[in-house]
Symmetry: C2
């Protein structure tokens, strides 16, 4: 049987990983699939640089600067899009699909924002579209949720799906350092980009959560409706207070089914979260990723591994390639649909607005050290029917205490039980209006998982 030919769009970190794996493990992969798989070509902007990289990696491929020549190439069976960005990636993928090529992408932004279009095109042209490398790097979590947990009605998932953010929070926790300081190190180590906003503002995690939620619940991709918060505003003191209370601070993507008065809906949110230290997710350190999935039959399962990197992400792409090599030529009815559910069986679940999500809350209130302050604050939460699980009243803030012209300020840390966010926001507005509370309240969300 002829070998399967793979063409790459892009030959950066991930593209080189794919080519290296397919070259080094060629025999192993042939033993698995029964067919040889060869990377034959890659389209890049800088041909000379890519040729040097291919040569250094011992990979024998044709480099071109004409991406259309790859997606039009009649000898290419599978196109791997590893160039990133929205355009021209989208047009190239659509062209490849229209030409009957199977397409794999590592581009989470592309899938999160244009997946619905891409899946429809794949269905129309009866080809396969894979995106395992777009979520959680080398962890085969798309396959696990889509196929391994197919028996389940997935109830929720929660994941550490941005390695840069987890590296920063781990260092802030273990080494007592501040956000800015650790971000500098992450940039020096190459974990964070010069413009780190994609990672630290939660956009990257939101792309991945969008995809995970769709395959978990069988719903269209709805990136625009996610609630997104990053880790830029996490203060060292909040990490310390959380630890004292038995919690770790992790940046999570959370998707959860909710039955509301108006019918089934979902929460889709990305934000820093306090989780119990004994939880396995709390012990996922550094750049590693992990996704905890709750199904109605299986209960909780967790998938852990490297969320980025050349060969880890390449591993996910090559897993998609081997699936495609096996399924090639079979009727699409025998193949796993991209979003786990048949295209005509997706359910258009509404995404709850931020005010309607429900979770526990960590609040840090800075208040003047005066009689009656605690009673005023507690009274507000009581009137809003918010019950408190823990109160940590700290020593007066050293800096403020030294300033004799102002009243001494006390940090008060509260943990609430689960409550609707709108209710909590209303209570906080009242707290902030108290004369003895001079500055905004810090809010973090709490999940017991």
């Amino acid at each position: 049987m002829n070998s399967v030919k793979v063409g790459l769009l892009g030959f950066g970190t991930v593209g080189q990983g794919i080519a290296t794996i397919l070259t080094r493990n060629a025999d192993e992969i042939t033993r698995r699939t029964g067919r040889r798989v060869d990377v034959t070509t890659a389209a890049v902007r800088n041909v000379a640089k890519a040729e040097a990289a291919a040569s250094a990696a011992g990979v024998d491929i044709t480099i071109t600067d004409d991406a259309m020549s790859v997606v039009n190439n009649p000898d290419v069976d599978i196109v791997c899009e590893v160039m990133g960005g929205e355009q021209p990636a989208l047009d190239l993928c659509l062209t490849a699909l229209a030409h009957g090529k199977h397409v794999i992408t590592a581009n989470k932004a592309l899938v999160a924002m244009h997946g619905n279009t891409l899946f429809a095109a794949a269905q129309k042209y009866k080809v396969m579209f894979g995106f395992e490398p777009a979520v959680a790097g080398g962890i085969p979590v798309i396959k696990a949720v889509r196929e391994g947990l197919a028996a389940n009605r997935i109830e929720s998932l929660a994941g550490i799906i941005n390695g840069t953010g987890n590296f920063i929070l781990t260092a802030m926790t273990d080494q007592g350092r501040d956000f800015d300081d650790v971000l500098d190190e992450a940039q020096a180590l190459g974990y964070a980009e010069a413009d780190p906003s994609f990672d630290v503002d939660g956009i990257d995690a939101a792309h991945k959560l969008t995809i995970l939620a769709s395959i978990a619940f069988g719903m269209p991709l709805k990136f625009d409706e996610l609630m997104i918060e990053g880790i830029r505003d996490i203060k060292q003191e909040d990490v310390v207070h959380a630890n004292e209370l038995g919690y770790a601070v992790k940046h999570l993507g959370i998707a959860r089914r909710r039955d509301t008065d108006t019918g089934p809906a979902v929460e889709l949110r990305v934000h820093p979260t306090l989780i119990p230290q004994r939880q396995l997710l709390a012990n996922v350190h550094g750049v590693m990723n992990a996704v905890l999935v709750e199904g109605d039959a299986v209960g909780q399962t967790l998938y852990y591994g490297p969320g980025a990197g050349s060969e880890p992400t390449g591993s996910a792409a090559v897993a998609d390639i081997t699936d495609m090599v096996r399924a090639m030529g079979s009727d699409p009815s025998h193949q796993v649909p991209p979003l786990a559910f048949q295209a005509d069986a997706l359910q258009d679940l509404p995404v709850l607005k931020p005010d309607d999500i429900e979770c526990g809350y960590y609040l840090r209130i800075t208040a003047e050290d005066k009689p009656g302050v605690m009673a005023d604050i507690a009274g507000i939460f009581g009137r809003h029917n918010i019950s408190l699980e823990a109160i940590l009243q700290k020593e007066p803030d050293a800096i403020n205490a030294a300033d004799e012209t102002t009243a001494t300020l006390l940090p008060i840390v509260l943990l609430s039980h689960k409550v609707r966010e709108g209710e909590m926001r209303a209570a906080i507005a009242e707290v902030e209006a108290l004369p003895c509370v001079p500055s905004p309240v810090t809010l973090l969300r709490v999940e017991t998982l």
Copy 2:
């Protein structure tokens, strides 16, 4: 399209879980596969009892005591063997395969001991044979290793794959209790059988490791060649010493590739193991299971979840069912081979003998408290080229110290670097021959993973 009909062999815990899931999640599963799946019949020994269980679960199926009528039934597409034991399970599965039915089993002993025969029969009759529920309950680890990591040359795997054993070791660690005491509780809770030997002597874990190793390395199943040790002899004091040294004691199944002078080989072993407390596997508590897999491209990934139970194991069986429903009618060349590699591409890797495995060692030596003892012991390890990583010399044993007729006895705890087990055994024999060492040396293996 007609619905797919599933027949069960057995209607105990797992059988009821499968029927319950397929009934409760019927719509969800149809949305995934595009076809309805119905459990229609179950064969059991006690019909009245099974009918009562089916009725209680709200499951509408025909119960029979004639298992052959299920495997011969022309209306059954998929047979799920959840009766356990070697026979008649083996004959029934072979008969079902010969009748063109796809077969799924939750029976780890059956697969570990007769998998080679069963896979050959499935290939001969061009049907599918699934066994996801046979390993690690609800964790889709067979799929992860076989498909999700298909890009990789798997180097090693290490798993907590017996929930009963992990429950016992967790309680010994967290509560300072002895083995016998916790075993009694595990039996009272229903985690351990009246005859607990399958679990606590490592047989059950060995069955699962046999299967995992074969799909990881693409080699035939070789249950008879495993090195197997259980947890019956684990002493509370060793758990305590391990913790002091920064290690947790876990019962692991370990499979590892080794390049030897005579060519490629594998280590396949099941035994109590000291692993660093910060390792994620060390934080898998109670009856939960987890498998850590190391691939050459992806690095380390870990899969965690419930290793047993009605619906968790049922979840794995129904995942196999949905895979089969999708692939039914496709050419076998489009399907994933049972052992991940094409049947004609398996590699008959030799299994190393116990003396030839390599790892670190934890030794507890009880020696008389006399001058020169430490020098004698250290000298022996030095002559065997065994370097020591840590030495923990404990206070004299209280009981012995009180007995004035004998010399005071000291427990000496040693951690060695990685060494061949044969060499370590030879050194221990010499230590045990010293006049100042009156009792056998306690040996546990250490893995840094």
